[in-house]
């Protein structure tokens, strides 16, 4: 019950929903889940098994029926693959497909082989009869590091491969444990997908920026910033905006839910947010710059350097133009004088 009330609070539901969640957990048939792994680092699974409210074991043992998860299941090899096909056959249209990682599409998908076949084929097979797809983490949602420029394996987020199923993106590298289990709890309790924002993320966890609920926000408004690592401001817990914190552009629940049973989150530990739950966060320049380098200009230069260079060139041009104009004007005056004198 304690977990139910905590989860209700996390999902933004009133106390009246606590028994509803408890009831759902006790009576509803467990939802079959197929959890596949593409190009990824398994940090999503690592995060998931550390969920405290609810405990990951409660999710796996009493809420869902994790019928296939090649990193967590006891079976291996042919038995494991058979279990997946069996689940697809038995629960057509009723199981949830959870995808960790993404399929690389280059070379016919040969950069990620799972069960002897390109992962993209496995993904398509599993998605065909799924009720809904959950894209765990930055890999499945946006592509993450393997899709960073120049993306040699053509790693592609799930929603660009599976286009005919409802997809819930739960981005983050990894996503917060309680966000992962919270999304599953919501779906089990209400038999529907959580409300999604324009980018397909559950609104209850991704509708606000880290910046909006950051406990260091007053220092931002005051203009009190950490200027360099380990300075006085860093020790006083000033805002990390100047150190390149991506909190103002990152939609996630870190500053409210926090990590490891609410112990802390990156900004609380003194490091800026790197924006890991945002689209293409590897390609947005340094994690430690606010005005970041623009790769479009072929050299490493940020907007200020590019702008200043442009202004310098234009300024130089203006100065030269003004000098020639002045000379021309002087010449014209002399000529007029000469001609007037000649007239006279």
């Amino acid at each position: 019950m304690k977990y139910c009330s905590l989860t209700a609070a996390a999902l933004g539901l009133g106390p009246a929903f606590v028994p509803k969640i408890a009831h759902a957990m006790e009576t509803k048939p467990r939802t079959p889940v197929i959890w596949v792994h593409g190009l990824e680092c398994t940090c999503c699974s690592e995060s998931f098994i550390r969920s405290a409210h609810p405990l990951a074991k409660d999710v796996v043992l009493s809420m869902i029926s994790l019928d296939y998860d090649d990193t967590l299941m006891a079976a291996a090899g042919h038995q494991a693959e058979a279990a997946m096909m069996d689940t697809i056959e038995r629960y057509k249209g009723n199981y949830i497909l959870a995808v960790e990682g993404n399929p690389p599409l280059a070379e016919d998908g040969m950069f990620c082989i799972s069960g002897g076949k390109p992962f993209v084929e496995k993904l398509k097979t599993a998605a065909e009869h799924a009720k809904a797809v959950i894209s765990w983490g930055a890999c499945a949602s946006y592509g993450c590091v393997q899709a960073a420029k120049p993306n040699p394996t053509q790693a592609t987020p799930v929603h660009k491969v599976i286009t005919d199923k409802p997809i819930i993106k739960v981005p983050g590298c990894p996503p917060i444990a309680e966000v992962m289990t919270g999304v599953i709890t919501y779906m089990l309790t209400f038999d529907r997908l959580p409300e999604l924002d324009r980018q397909g993320r559950p609104a209850m966890f991704y509708s606000q920026r880290i910046h909006d609920k950051c406990y260091r926000r007053p220092h931002f408004d005051a203009g009190q910033f950490v200027e360099e690592w380990d300075d006085d401001g860093a020790r006083k817990g000033y805002c990390l905006y100047k150190m390149g914190c991506k909190g103002p552009t990152t939609y996630n629940a870190c500053s409210t839910v926090r990590w490891n049973e609410g112990a802390s989150f990156p900004i609380q530990s003194g490091h800026g947010c790197i924006g890991c739950s945002e689209d293409g966060f590897w390609d947005q320049g340094s994690f430690y710059d606010r005005v970041t380098d623009l790769t479009q200009f072929g050299v490493e230069a940020n907007a200020d350097q590019v702008g200043l260079a442009a202004a310098g060139v234009v300024g130089g041009g203006i100065a030269a133009h003004a000098a020639i104009s002045a000379l021309k004007q002087a010449q014209k005056k002399t000529q007029t004088k000469v001609s007037e004198n000649e007239e006279a």
Binding site: Y142, D197, R198, Q199, A203, S207, Q208, R209, D212, P218, H219, F220, D221, A222, G223, Q224, F225, E227, G233, Y238, Y241, K242, K246, P248, T249, G275, E278, D279, G280, F281, Q284, G285, R290, V291, T292, L294, N302, A303, D304, V306, G307, L308, A310, A311, V314, G315, I318, H321, A322, I324, S325, K328, Q329, K332
Partner: protein, 260 residues
């Protein structure tokens, strides 16, 4: 004192219309010899001039505060964060100036319809008009010192029209749209700004992209300001018409009365 006695008419073959006119007594013979009859025309109506200067002030504020938002001033500690709102005020000034600029821009667009033909000039490029391109070429030659004398223009010269369209109409629209999208992030999802510009945020994906684009846009406007001010002053001195004062009085004064 002798200098100030009105000179006899038609001295040196020139009809001196000012010999008996109300010139004050500090007019010298030299002044009278060079005095020219000038024609003038009223081009910029009050709303256009008012918008110009309000817009200039707003853009200046936006550039300064915008730069400081990207690269904040060194931290100062006047007190606890609760009692200090320095960065907050800088951001407020940016937002307030942006609102003024946006409202002004809409007002200006209205005046493009309600005002005279010169009020419309900055909103379009007569791309298909052949003689306009010929005028562009002529004006470009004047700026490249290939012609000794420019033509006379009532409104913007063709090059200025291109600049106005690219930097102001297009540039300001870009800054307004990207700016309000970033503002929508602060107001939060479900706000009016989010309703209008949220789809843009979703399309861009990561708003760091918007920040950098908005920042580059500032430099675009700064470059325009430099060219604009230089060209206005240069033309005021070297061209055949008034420039700077026209945006104050609305009257374009021509320095000569020749027809070509």
């Amino acid at each position: 004192m002798k200098d100030n006695v009105p000179a006899p008419a038609s001295a040196g073959g020139r009809v001196d219309v000012y010999s008996t006119s109300p010139l004050t007594r500090d007019a010298t013979d030299a002044d009278r010899a060079t005095v020219r009859r000038a024609t003038s025309v009223y081009v910029y109506e009050v709303p256009v001039r008012l918008w110009h200067w309000i817009n200039a002030a707003a853009i200046l504020t936006l550039c300064v505060t915008g730069y400081l938002i990207g690269s904040p001033l060194p931290s100062i500690e006047m007190g606890e964060a609760t009692h200090q709102f320095l960065f907050g005020y800088i951001r407020f000034a940016h937002f307030a100036a942006a609102m003024v600029m946006t409202v002004g821009f809409f007002g200006r667009i209205y005046w493009a319809f309600a005002g005279n033909s010169h009020a419309r000039q900055m909103f379009y490029i007569p791309f298909w008009r052949k003689d306009w391109w010929e005028e562009v070429w002529f004006e470009a030659r004047w700026y490249m010192f290939l012609d000794s004398e420019p033509r006379k223009y009532l409104g913007h010269n063709p090059l200025a029209q291109v600049a106005m369209f690219m930097f102001m109409t297009v540039g300001m629209t870009f800054m307004t749209v990207t700016g309000f999208a970033l503002y929508a992030e602060g107001l939060g999802q479900g706000s009016w700004a989010d309703m209008l510009f949220g789809p843009l945020i979703a399309w861009v994906g990561n708003t760091m992209v918007l920040y950098q684009a908005h920042h580059l846009g500032m430099w675009f406007i700064v470059v325009f300001m430099m060219i604009h001010i230089y060209a206005a002053i240069r033309e005021d001195i070297m061209s055949r018409q008034s420039m700077v004062s026209t945006m104050i009085s609305g009257t374009r004064t021509f320095k000569d009365d020749r027809v070509d």
